[in-house]
C-alpha cells in the first residue's frame, strides 16, 4: 500500500538522562533494520548518533536514563510537553537503574565519598524513574533494552498495531528454549520467576540466575521467592540483596530489599557481592 510513501514520516527523538548510553547503542546496533527504520522515520534528535540537535515537537521520544539531577528534571518536563508519545527505554528510565541504589542511603555522604569537589556536583537526593515525574505512554525494559523488542515496538508503531511485548516471567522463555531450570536443578537463586521476560532468558542460558534486568513482572510474588531462597540456605540479607540490582528500586523489589535488609552498602559482607558471586559462593551453586 506504500504506507511509508503516503503517510507523513513520524518525528522521533532520543533523549538521554542519567544513564550509560547502552540503550541508545542498541538502536545503533540494529544494523539490519536501522536504515529501513531511518527511511520511514525522521530521527530528529539522537545524541549518541549525531551532534545535530533539534527540538520538538516529536511524535515519539525514547527516553533513556533516570532523573538524577535538577537539570534532568527540567529536561524531562520539557520533553513531555513536546512529545506525543513518551517511551522510556531501559532499566534506568523505567526503574531508576543502578544509580537508584543511592536512594536507600545518605546522598551527601555518597557525594562526598566519590567526588573530590562535591560542591560542583548538583544532583537530586534520589535517582528516580521517569514515570515518577511525568506520564509515560509505553516502556521498553531491560539493561540494556532488547533489540528485538525495539524493532517490534517501531514496527507496531509504523503498522498501527499493538506492540507484542511479553507480560510473563523469564521462566516462560527458559522453558520454550528448553533450558534446564538453574534453581531447581542446581540450587542457584534466580529472579526469573518474578522478572518480566524480554531478554530471551539470557543468564539462565549461561547457567546463571536471572538478575532481573527487565524488572518485576505484574504481581511479582517476591515474598514467596525470597522465602524459598532463605529456606534453601541463603541468609535473609543476601536474599534481599539479590533483588537490589538494576531494577531494585522498582516495587515490589524495593520494599523487599528494605524488609530483608539487603540495602546496598549496609551489610557486614566485606564487599557488595553481585548476585552471581553470591550464587556461586553458595553450596550447590557452583557452575
Amino acid at each position: 500500500m506504500g504506507r511509508a510513501a503516503t503517510t507523513p514520516r513520524p518525528r522521533l527523538g532520543v533523549v538521554k538522562l542519567a544513564s550509560c548510553d547502552g540503550c541508545q547503542l542498541m538502536l545503533l546496533d540494529l544494523e539490519d533494520e536501522l536504515l529501513a527504520i531511518a527511511e520511514r522515520i525522521d530521527i530528529v534528535e539522537f545524541p549518541e548518533a549525531s551532534t545535530h540537535r533539534s527540538s520538538g515537537p516529536y511524535d515519539v521520544v525514547l527516553v533513556e536514563g533516570s532523573v538524577s539531577t535538577p537539570e534532568q528534571l527540567e529536561q524531562i518536563l520539557e520533553v513531555r510537553r513536546e512529545a506525543k508519545l513518551l517511551v522510556t527505554i531501559g532499566a534506568c528510565a523505567t526503574a531508576g537503574g543502578i544509580q537508584a541504589m543511592r536512594n536507600w542511603r545518605e546522598h551527601d555522604a555518597f557525594r562526598a565519598a566519590v567526588y573530590a569537589h562535591p560542591e560542583y556536583v548538583d544532583s537530586l537526593a534520589t535517582a528516580q524513574p521517569v514515570a515518577d515525574y511525568v506520564k509515560v505512554d509505553a516502556e521498553l525494559r531491560g539493561c540494556p533494552i532488547s533489540a528485538e523488542q525495539l524493532v517490534e515496538f517501531v514496527t507496531a508503531l509504523l503498522t498501527g498495531r499493538r506492540a507484542n511485548l511479553p507480560d510473563e516471567a523469564v521462566c516462560a522463555d527458559c522453558k520454550r528454549a528448553g533450558r534446564v531450570c538453574v534453581m531447581v536443578a542446581r540450587g542457584i537463586p534466580c529472579l526469573g520467576p518474578v522478572t518480566m521476560t524480554g531478554c530471551g532468558s539470557l543468564c539462565p542460558g549461561f547457567d546463571r540466575g536471572c538478575y532481573a534486568c527487565f524488572g518485576p513482572r505484574e504481581q511479582a510474588n517476591v515474598a514467596s521467592l525470597s522465602r524459598e531462597f532463605i529456606r534453601t540456605g541463603l541468609p535473609p540479607v543476601e536474599a534481599g540483596r539479590l533483588f537490589a540490582g538494576f531494577t531494585g528500586y522498582a516495587e515490589p523489589f524495593r520494599a523487599l530489599v528494605t524488609e530483608l535488609g539487603g540495602v546496598p552498602g549496609t551489610t557486614a559482607v566485606p564487599h557488595a557481592a553481585s548476585a552471581a558471586d553470591t550464587a556461586a559462593a553458595r553450596p550447590g551453586g557452583t557452575r
Binding site: 500500500m1 506504500g2 504506507r3 511509508a4 533494520e33 529501513a36 527504520i37 520511514r40 517501531v154 514496527t155 509504523l158 503498522t159 498501527g160 498495531r161 507484542n164 511479553p166 507480560d167 510473563e168 516471567a169 521462566c171 516462560a172 522453558k175 520454550r176 528454549a177 528448553g178 533450558r179 534446564v180 531450570c181 538453574v182 534453581m183 531447581v184 536443578a185 542446581r186 540450587g187 534466580c190 526469573g192 520467576p193 518474578v194 547457567d207 505484574e218 504481581q219 510474588n221 515474598a223 514467596s224 521467592l225 522465602r227 524459598e228
Partner: protein
C-alpha cells in the same frame, strides 16, 4: 497372527544396543532420547549408546532435581526430566501462517511451508505415552484439528522403556497411566541388568523387532521385568485418590486454599510449560516495517499470565493468581474430563519437581478436594450420618393392614431423634440382617417405622411386640427438602407404601402450616384393606386446611370412595402447578405416571421430588448395589429432584 515369530519377546544384550539405535536411525530418522545436559537428563539427539545417561539417575522432590551417579551400567535408570515429548510434536514456537498485502492493497493468506522431521522417541515412559494420548485427543479429537501436530505425531516412532526408577514426585499410579506400558508404543524395552526384554506394540515395531533378530527372552527375564514393574508401582503408592476427583474438586471452587496456594505460587508458568499435556498457545504477528508481509507465530502460553485472560480495554477475567491457579488445577483434573473424556493429568510429577517453590499438586488436591472419608458427615444439613448401630426398644406395635405394622421405637440415648435429618434407617435384627426402612414419624425419643412384611427380615419386624429390641443406624440419606416448599403450594402423592416416608413431611407442614400455601395429600392403595393411616387421613381432611384424596385400584363392597390410579385424584382438578412443589413416593411406575401429570400442570422438574427405590445393602454408599447413574441412592438420595436425575429417571435398566 497364525505364527508366533521367534522374536515376539526378544532379548537385546546391552552390548548390542547400538544396533537398535542404528535401525531407528534408518531412512534419515533422527533418534531423540535421554542425554545429560545442564545438570539434568534432557531429550536430545542420540547417535550412539555413549550419548545415553549410563548409570545416571535423578533424585526428585518438590522444587528440586539433582543428578546422581548410580555407578551401574543401566541406560534408562532415571525418571522423567524437565523435557517432555510435547516439545517435539507441539513445538514451543511455530510459524503457522503467512499473510501479505501487495502494492495495490490486495491481501493474501497462506501456510508457512515447513519440513516435518522424522523422529524416533527413545525412552518414552508409560506416563509420557499417556500424555501423547491426551494430546492426541486435544489436537486430533475434532471437529477442528491441528494438522502440524498430526504430521509430527505420525512421523514419529515411539520406543517405550518400562519405568524402573520412579521419582519422589511421581503419581502415575493414581492417575491410572503407569508405571506399566500398555499401548501406544511401537516398541517396548524393559531394561534388566544385562540387557533389554523387547516387545513390539505396532506393525512398525514388529518389523524392527524382526530386523533385530533377537534371541527369545527367557522366562526368568520376563519375570524380572514384571517384578521390576511391581516394585515401581509399590514405590509410588497411590498419593492422590482420583476416584470422584472431578466432582470433589468442582465442589470446592470457593475453597480458602486457593488463596493460600496463591500466596506461594509465583505464577511463573513453569508447571504449565513442564506439563506434557498443557496445550495453550498465543499467536502474534511478526511483520516487516511496512506491515506488508507478516507471519503469524504461535507459541506456548500459560493460563498463569495476565495476558492470557485479558480482553479489550484491559479487562481481565482472572485478575488474581488464585483465580489462575484454580483455573489450571480444575481444568487439569476436572473440566478436562468434560472436554476431552480424559483427565489432563498423567501423574508424571513434572509440575511438582519444576515448581521453583515446590508446590505439590498432590498435596493441594488432597487439601482442596480431600478423598471421601470413611466416617460419614456429622449431622449438619442433610449429610449422611455415621452408620453406627444403636439399640432401640419397641414401645408400641400398631397393625395398619393385614401385612403392615407401625412400630414406635425409642432409645434412652438422650439424643433428640426428631432433630436428626436423614430419610431412612437401617434396622438390624441379630442373625437376620439389616433392612432399610423409611422413617414414618419423627419423635423426640425415637421414631415410628411403618413396615410391610414382604421378606424374612421385614416379616420378623412386623411380628415384634412391646419391649422387643432391634438395632438402628442413625438416620441416613437425603430426605424431603420441606424447607424448599415454604411459600409454595404443596402436593404430596404417596402410592401404597410410598405414604409412610411422606408422613414426616405432612407432620412438618402441619406444625408450621402458615408457611405453606395450599396443601394437597393424595394416597392410593391396591384395595381398601391396604389403605394406610386411615384414621389419620380422616383427621387431616377434617382440619380444613389440607385437601386429602384417597383412591384404591380395586374396590370391595364396603368401599364408597374413588377407584382408580392415584393420578386420577388430581389430573382433572383445576390447580396451578406453577407455584407448587411436589413430593412423590411409591412404585416407580406410579412415580412416572405422577410426574407426567405434574408436568402437564406446570410443575417444573426442579420442583418435583421423588424417592427412588433400589437395592440397598449398606446404606452408606460403599457396597455399590444401589447405584443409579451417577448416584448412590442411599447416600445421594433416596430423594432426588427430577432435574437432578435428568435422563436417568425412567430409563429402563438403570
Amino acid at each position: 497372527m497364525t505364527t508366533v515369530t521367534r522374536s515376539a519377546i526378544g532379548f537385546l544384550p546391552r552390548a548390542d544396543f547400538q544396533r537398535l539405535i542404528d535401525l531407528l536411525s534408518e531412512d534419515d530418522r533422527t533418534v531423540i532420547g535421554p542425554t545429560v545436559a545442564d545438570g539434568a537428563i534432557v531429550y536430545g539427539e542420540v547417535r550412539a549408546v555413549s550419548d545415553l545417561p549410563r548409570g545416571i539417575g535423578a533424585e526428585q522432590a518438590p522444587g528440586s532435581y539433582r543428578l546422581v551417579d548410580r555407578g551401574n551400567d543401566l541406560l534408562f535408570a532415571y525418571t522423567v526430566g524437565p523435557t517432555s515429548w510435547k516439545r517435539f510434536v507441539f513445538p514451543p514456537t511455530l510459524a503457522v501462517s503467512r499473510s501479505h498485502r501487495d502494492e495495490d492493497g490486495h491481501v493474501s493468506f497462506g501456510p508457512v511451508p515447513k519440513e516435518i522431521p522424522k523422529l524416533a522417541f527413545l525412552g518414552v515412559r508409560a506416563c509420557e505415552l499417556a500424555a501423547l494420548g491426551v494430546e492426541d485427543r486435544v489436537f486430533l479429537g475434532g471437529p477442528y484439528t491441528d494438522e502440524d501436530y498430526r504430521a509430527r505425531r505420525t512421523r514419529s516412532l515411539v520406543v517405550a522403556v518400562q519405568c524402573a526408577e520412579p521419582a519422589g514426585t511421581c503419581f502415575c499410579t493414581s492417575m491410572g497411566t503407569g508405571p506399566g506400558v500398555r499401548s501406544g508404543h511401537d516398541l517396548l524395552l524393559i531394561e534388566l541388568d544385562d540387557g533389554f526384554v523387547v516387545t513390539a506394540g505396532s506393525p512398525v515395531g514388529s518389523a524392527i523387532l524382526d530386523q533385530l533378530d533377537l534371541e527369545e527372552a527367557s522366562a526368568d527375564q520376563i519375570t524380572a521385568g514384571s517384578d521390576q514393574l511391581a516394585a515401581a508401582r509399590q514405590r509410588i503408592g497411590d498419593p492422590v485418590v482420583a476416584a470422584g476427583l472431578h466432582d470433589r474438586l468442582m465442589a470446592k471452587l470457593d475453597s480458602p486454599r486457593w488463596a493460600d496456594v496463591a500466596e506461594r505460587c509465583l505464577a511463573c508458568t513453569n508447571c504449565t510449560a513442564s506439563c506434557p499435556t498443557c496445550f495453550c498457545t498465543s499467536v502474534s504477528q511478526r511483520s516487516d516495517l511496512d506491515g506488508q508481509t507478516s507471519v503469524t507465530e504461535r507459541r506456548w502460553e500459560s493460563c498463569f499470565t495476565k495476558g492470557f485472560s485479558t480482553v479489550a480495554l484491559g479487562g481481565n477475567f482472572r485478575p488474581r493468581v488464585q483465580d489462575r491457579y484454580r483455573q489450571w488445577l480444575t481444568h487439569k483434573f476436572a473440566t478436562w474430563i468434560d472436554q476431552f473424556g480424559t483427565s489432563g493429568c498423567v501423574g508424571c510429577g513434572r509440575c511438582i519437581t519444576w515448581c521453583p517453590v515446590g508446590i505439590d499438586v498432590r498435596e493441594e488436591l488432597n487439601v482442596i478436594a480431600p478423598p471421601p472419608q470413611v466416617v460419614l458427615g456429622n449431622g449438619k444439613g442433610s449429610e449422611a450420618h455415621s452408620p453406627r448401630t444403636s439399640v432401640f426398644r419397641v414401645d408400641a406395635a400398631r397393625r395398619e393392614t393385614q401385612d403392615t405394622v407401625t412400630l414406635t421405637l425409642s432409645t434412652p440415648s438422650g439424643i433428640d431423634w426428631s432433630k436428626l435429618h436423614g430419610e431412612f434407617v437401617m434396622v438390624s435384627v441379630p442373625a437376620v440382617g439389616s433392612v432399610p426402612i423409611s422413617i414414618s414419624r419423627r419423635l423426640p425419643t425415637g421414631m415410628e417405622l411403618t413396615i410391610r412384611g414382604v421378606g424374612p427380615a421385614s416379616t420378623i419386624l412386623t411380628g415384634l411386640g412391646h419391649g422387643a429390641e432391634v438395632g438402628l443406624s442413625a438416620p441416613l440419606g437425603r430426605g424431603w427438602p420441606v424447607d424448599m416448599a415454604e411459600d409454595h403450594d404443596v402436593l404430596i402423592v404417596g402410592g401404597g407404601m410410598g405414604l409412610p416416608p411422606l408422613r414426616p413431611v405432612v407432620d412438618e407442614i402441619i406444625e408450621h402450616r402458615a408457611k405453606f400455601g395450599e396443601v394437597r395429600i393424595y394416597h392410593g392403595a391396591r384395595t381398601p384393606g391396604d389403605l394406610l393411616y386411615a384414621e389419620e387421613l380422616a383427621r387431616w381432611a377434617a382440619r380444613g386446611d389440607l385437601e386429602v384424596g384417597v383412591t384404591v385400584d380395586r374396590a370391595d363392597a364396603t368401599w364408597l370412595g374413588r377407584v382408580g390410579v392415584v393420578t386420577h385424584l388430581f389430573d382433572h382438578a383445576r390447580w396451578d402447578g406453577t407455584k407448587a412443589i411436589a413430593f412423590v413416593c411409591g412404585p416407580e411406575r406410579m412415580i412416572q405416571a405422577t410426574v407426567t401429570t405434574l408436568a402437564l400442570h406446570g410443575v417444573t422438574s426442579d420442583r418435583i421430588f421423588v424417592s427412588m427405590e433400589r437395592h440397598m445393602e449398606c446404606g452408606v454408599g460403599l457396597c455399590g448395589h444401589c447405584q443409579m447413574g451417577p448416584y448412590f441412592v442411599c447416600k445421594d438420595g433416596p430423594v432426588f429432584s427430577l432435574a437432578q436425575l435428568g435422563d436417568v429417571f425412567g430409563r429402563e435398566g438403570i
